[in-house]
């Protein structure tokens, strides 16, 4: 009903505003599309695009008087990726916007897409079909892993010819569909991927008021966001295919998030300075049962109250103390205070509610050495203290020094060279009192890379060349190296370098030629220790440095490397006054691999490297012609060809059932090639 009201409102707003007329750029475009695809699972092709919609309907209408303006836009009207927007303004008094944005997200469908042994797909209770199809996918039923986001909303702002304004905004986002959810079944501890129901609603509203003056701006805002998981009891239940055993798992809980902030700027300060500030307080809450699945596991309390508070304070001062110098000083405080109910479960399993506080301060000074040379130096300090969690860092300190040189001494060329060095120190809560024969002892050597001690070096070079007003070249070079030098177990380093190029040229005749080329290499190195639960005869088996080695206790390392390329070139040719021709070609490629080294003694399980690791190639051709029949009518015809091939150790030769594990085909068999033909007729309001 809400959609009906909104859509009719759109109509009525236009019908009553009879004094408006169309403007430059307004149009209505209708047409058709034919999609001829070849694939086992075309979801990747359709991932965010509704190519099934055979009809094409776009339009824009703008009306304006000396007092009022309104614009209606429609894109993919009636399709799963529809966008509608109405914006309007009564000048010097109010403005409004109403919109609908649909985003489709396809994950798997087609003859080798989603398959499941259950009935009730699309609900929260998955029962085995009768007769039981067991682990034979030939007997399983098809379904689509697909989600649809439907977002309706708008705002109204009143600012009656004064610096004062007040703004109301609201939206409702409904997300429906099925996505893969994998859980462990009780039977055989099997991996069981389910067609998991998605039925979510998020309702947001906000009110903001403020005062906008030339020398200062101040505003206050309150926002509430409520998330509802409409699945009954927030849990999904299923029967195991081999024996019909009942299982259940939790889904996301409802929550409500309230946020208040004040912000502002004052600009009339010494040295042409501006002082900016923001204060935010937010609270995230919900209520839950500590045993929602009814597992019977004893808990210290039957109810869990989620209660997380966020406090943020930001202050910044920007100034120009001298003609050739600019200065920025900033401080940022962020606090997450988790007061959620602590719960202790039978067996001593204690929840660890994470609270943390961040302090971030910095100083940035830019100095123009000459008209064509500017140096900017930045020091940034970042400190985090966390609630204690054993084997995790309770304190982390980052120090970062950055130097940037900007040069414009070559005509039409802007060069920017940036370098920074960051060093991080964390305090890990370790327990070396444990014996090296205790399985927990190994955790003293594991450093999560998000907090691990780090030396980071980054160099970035940017070159922009704008020549003769009709040619532009852009270059971006990046090198980044993270050295987790104290890490024994975990990620020890990652390194990336990339080259990105862009070129654009326009001839005197108006022909446009645009191209880009990209290359990126990324490496991740890591160390690990293969373990079992007890040492047996291996001394200090949980010590990766001094512990013994065997067939089950040994160190190993992994090296992941990916090379990604991209290239695209496009041509836009105004053949004559009536006909414009567009052609382009794009391609992407990724080549990944993993190599291992193993210290197993004796070496009975020689690791075999993986050569198909997120490998893919994608290329596309697009041809389009636009013919102007007259000033009002254009006809457009186009052809698109896309080809996508994906090769990965986890998906090549995909099986729905193996051993006691069961999958549903999510992301499987994504290769496709497609031809899309389309034609439209466009009426332009001149």
């Amino acid at each position: 009903m809400k959609k009906k009201i909104l859509a009719c409102l759109i109509s009525q707003l236009f019908l009553v505003s009879g004094s408006v007329a169309a403007a430059e750029g307004d149009f209505v475009e209708i047409g058709g599309r034919s999609t001829d695809e070849s694939s086992l699972n075309a979801a990747k092709l359709f991932e965010y695009r509704d190519l099934d919609a055979n009809g094409i309907f776009h339009g824009q209408f703008t009306g304006r008087t000396d007092d009022y303006s309104v614009r209606l836009r429609g894109e993919n009207v009636f399709a799963d990726d529809q966008f509608l927007e109405l914006v309007g303004e009564k000048y010097n008094f109010l403005d409004y916007r109403i919109f609908n944005n649909k985003i489709v997200h396809n994950l798997s469908f087609g003859p080798a897409g989603g398959l499941s042994p259950w009935v009730g797909v699309g609900g929260g209770n998955l029962a085995l079909a009768v007769p039981t199809p067991g682990n034979n996918p030939a007997l399983w039923g098809p379904f689509d892993h697909e989600m649809q986001r439907d977002n309706w909303g708008g705002h109204l702002e009143v600012s009656p010819d004064s610096p004062f304004y007040i703004r109301f905004a609201a939206n409702e986002l409904n997300t429906d569909g099925i996505r893969p959810q994998g859980f462990r079944s009780t039977a055989g501890f099997a991996a069981t991927e389910l067609p998991g129901l998605v039925d979510w609603t998020t309702r947001n509203w906000t009110v903001e008021t403020g005062w906008e003056a030339t020398d200062y701006v101040i505003s206050a805002n309150f926002t509430q966001s409520r998330y509802y998981n409409n699945l009954f009891n927030k849990q999904i239940t299923w029967q195991d295919p081999p024996n019909g055993t009942g299982n259940s798992a939790t889904q996301q809980p409802d929550n409500v998030y309230n946020q208040f902030f004040l912000n502002g700027v004052y600009r009339k300060l010494p040295w042409s300075g501006a002082l900016m500030g923001k204060f935010t307080y937010a609270k995230l809450e919900n209520e839950q049962n500590t045993d929602p699945l009814g597992s019977g596991i004893a808990a210290s309390t039957p109810a869990f109250s989620g209660d997380v508070g966020y406090t943020d304070v930001s202050l910044a001062y920007s100034a120009m103390p001298m003609n050739d110098m600019d200065l920025r000083v900033y401080y940022y405080y962020h606090d997450r205070d988790n007061k959620s109910t602590p719960v202790v479960y039978a067996g001593g399993f204690l929840t660890e509610a994470l609270s943390y506080t961040k302090h971030n301060a910095g100083l940035q000074v830019g100095y123009r050495l000459s008209r064509a040379n500017k140096l900017t130096g930045t020091y940034d300090y970042h400190y985090v203290s966390r609630s204690p969690i054993l084997f995790y860092a309770d304190e982390t300190t980052d120090n970062k020094l950055q130097l940037e040189w900007r040069n414009t001494s070559l005509e039409n060329v802007t060069a920017r060279l940036k370098y920074w060095y960051l060093w991080r120190d964390s305090n890990f809560l370790q327990d070396f009192a444990l014996p090296a024969t205790d399985p927990e002892y190994i955790r003293n050597f594991i450093s999560s890379y998000d907090v691990a001690n780090l030396n980071q070096n980054v160099v970035k070079l940017t070159l922009d060349w704008a020549a003769m007003g009709n040619m532009a070249l852009g270059t971006e070079l990046l090198y980044k190296y993270n050295d987790y030098d104290d890490t024994v177990i975990g990620r020890t380093s990652d390194e990336r370098y990339g080259v990105n190029l862009f070129a654009n040229y326009i001839t005197g005749g108006g022909i446009k030629l645009t191209a880009f080329a990209d290359y990126e290499n990324i490496k991740y190195d890591s160390n690990h220790r293969n373990l079992t639960s007890s040492c047996g005869a291996v001394p200090n088996c949980f010590d990766p440095i001094f512990g013994g080695v065997s067939a089950t206790f040994f160190n190993w390392s992994g090296k992941v490397e990916t090379d990604a390329w991209g290239f695209g070139v496009g041509l836009d040719v105004p053949v004559n006054e009536r006909f414009n021709f567009v052609a382009n070609f794009l391609t992407q490629k990724n080549d990944g691999e993993v190599n291992f080294e193993s210290g197993q003694t004796p070496l009975t399980n020689v690791p075999i490297g993986i050569s198909n690791w997120d490998d893919y190639t994608k290329y596309a051709f697009n041809l389009k012609g636009v013919y102007a029949i007259n000033k009002q009518f254009d006809v457009t015809g186009g052809w698109t060809y896309e080809d996508y091939k994906f090769r990965d150790v986890g998906f090549d030769g995909y099986q729905y059932a193996f051993g006691s594990d069961r999958l549903t085909g999510a992301y499987a068999n994504p290769d496709y090639h497609v031809n899309v033909l389309y034609a439209t007729l466009k009426y332009k309001f001149q």
């Binding site: 109509s11 998000d450 645009t514 896309e642």
Partner: protein, 322 residues
């Protein structure tokens, strides 16, 4: 078959929306200043396309307080003294907003002369764009000039993408969005300013929330929790595991599982093992077929699906497997 309630609602909304689109062209009448009367009419003799586009935007409306039209200066309101240009064609005295030889602060100064009081520019002084001498006209083109050929995969949307303005400088980000796992920005279903405020914020990367986690959960509210069992990195920074613009690994992960997870997890059970080519669906020649659910398909999340947090009791919740 009778239509369901939702189908009826959908149909009605579509009919109404279509009616709006169809009926609009038949509205009539205009109160806007006729071009031949406007101060910019002399300019249109040579710059017809530019003036035509100018007339289509708010700057040309006399009724809006402070616009070039309301100030009565015509094109000179932004371009300075145009008298010489009109007489002789000389561009010496013109303020050329799109000419990068003109210093950025001078080009932006023309715009800020009117726009500096807006709340949208509250944090402009702290923005990276100001620091890097990006002028307003580098992103905003008042005259609507699109001077590049299309180089994008087929998209069903038709309106200009905001991304096209950003990617001219942010080449690496453009590359990330072209990768196979990305947010639907190239498809026109999201835009850069959904997450970033190009006019500046007080946060790193000019994001529009106080933290990365709060930013991401604006749309992904299902991941907010609070959960009985939290995954600490999730509560601190989504970018520990995800690449926000795009990457080669599924779900915008920075690295494919299980390696991503094993970079932090090494216990006396399966996280300590290596998962090599022998454990795929198709092993190398000479090895038996024995796929491991810890490597294939969604790897770790084949079982640990509630990786962002779980409410299940006991160890099943602690390990995010229920």
């Amino acid at each position: 078959m009778p239509l369901s309630k939702s189908a009826r609602t959908g149909l009605l909304s579509r009919v109404c929306a279509a009616a709006a689109l169809v009926l609009i062209p038949f509205s009539s009448g205009i109160a806007q200043q006729a071009p031949e009367q406007a101060e910019w009419a002399p300019c249109a003799q040579c710059h017809e396309r530019i003036v035509k586009h100018f007339e289509g935007n708010k700057h040309s409306v006399k009724g809006v307080k402070g616009t070039p039209a309301s100030l009565g200066g015509g094109c000179g309101a932004c371009h300075g003294d145009i008298s010489d240009h009109l007489k002789t064609g000389s561009t010496d005295k013109l303020v050329r907003l799109s000419d990068k030889k003109t210093p950025a602060d001078q080009r932006s100064g023309t715009c800020l002369g009117c726009h500096s009081s807006g709340r949208h520019l509250t944090y402009w002084d702290m923005s990276k764009h100001k620091k890097n001498e990006v002028a307003c006209s580098d992103c905003h083109n008042v005259h609507g000039k699109k001077d590049r050929a299309e180089v994008n995969y087929y998209r069903t949307t038709v309106f200009d993408l905001e991304q096209e303005a950003c990617e001219v400088c942010h080449l690496q980000v453009r590359n990330q969005f072209n990768k196979i796992s990305h947010h639907p920005v190239p498809e026109g279903k999201m835009k850069c300013s959904d997450c970033h405020n190009p006019h500046g914020t007080l946060n790193h990367a000019m994001i529009k929330a106080d933290s990365i986690t709060q930013l991401c959960t604006t749309c992904h509210a299902d991941k907010r929790g609070p959960y009985i069992w939290e995954h600490p990195p999730v509560e601190q920074n989504c970018l520990t595991c995800h690449q926000s613009h795009g990457g080669v690994a599924n779900k915008l992960l920075t690295e494919r599982q299980p390696n991503l997870c094993e970079d932090c997890h090494d216990w006396g059970r399966h996280p300590s093992n290596f998962y090599d080519a022998k454990l795929g669906f198709i092993p190398p020649p000479g090895f038996p077929v024995s796929p491991s659910s810890r490597l294939v398909a969604r790897s770790c999340t084949n079982c640990h699906s509630n990786i962002h947090g779980s409410n299940a009791a006991g160890t099943a919740g602690k390990r995010f497997i229920k």
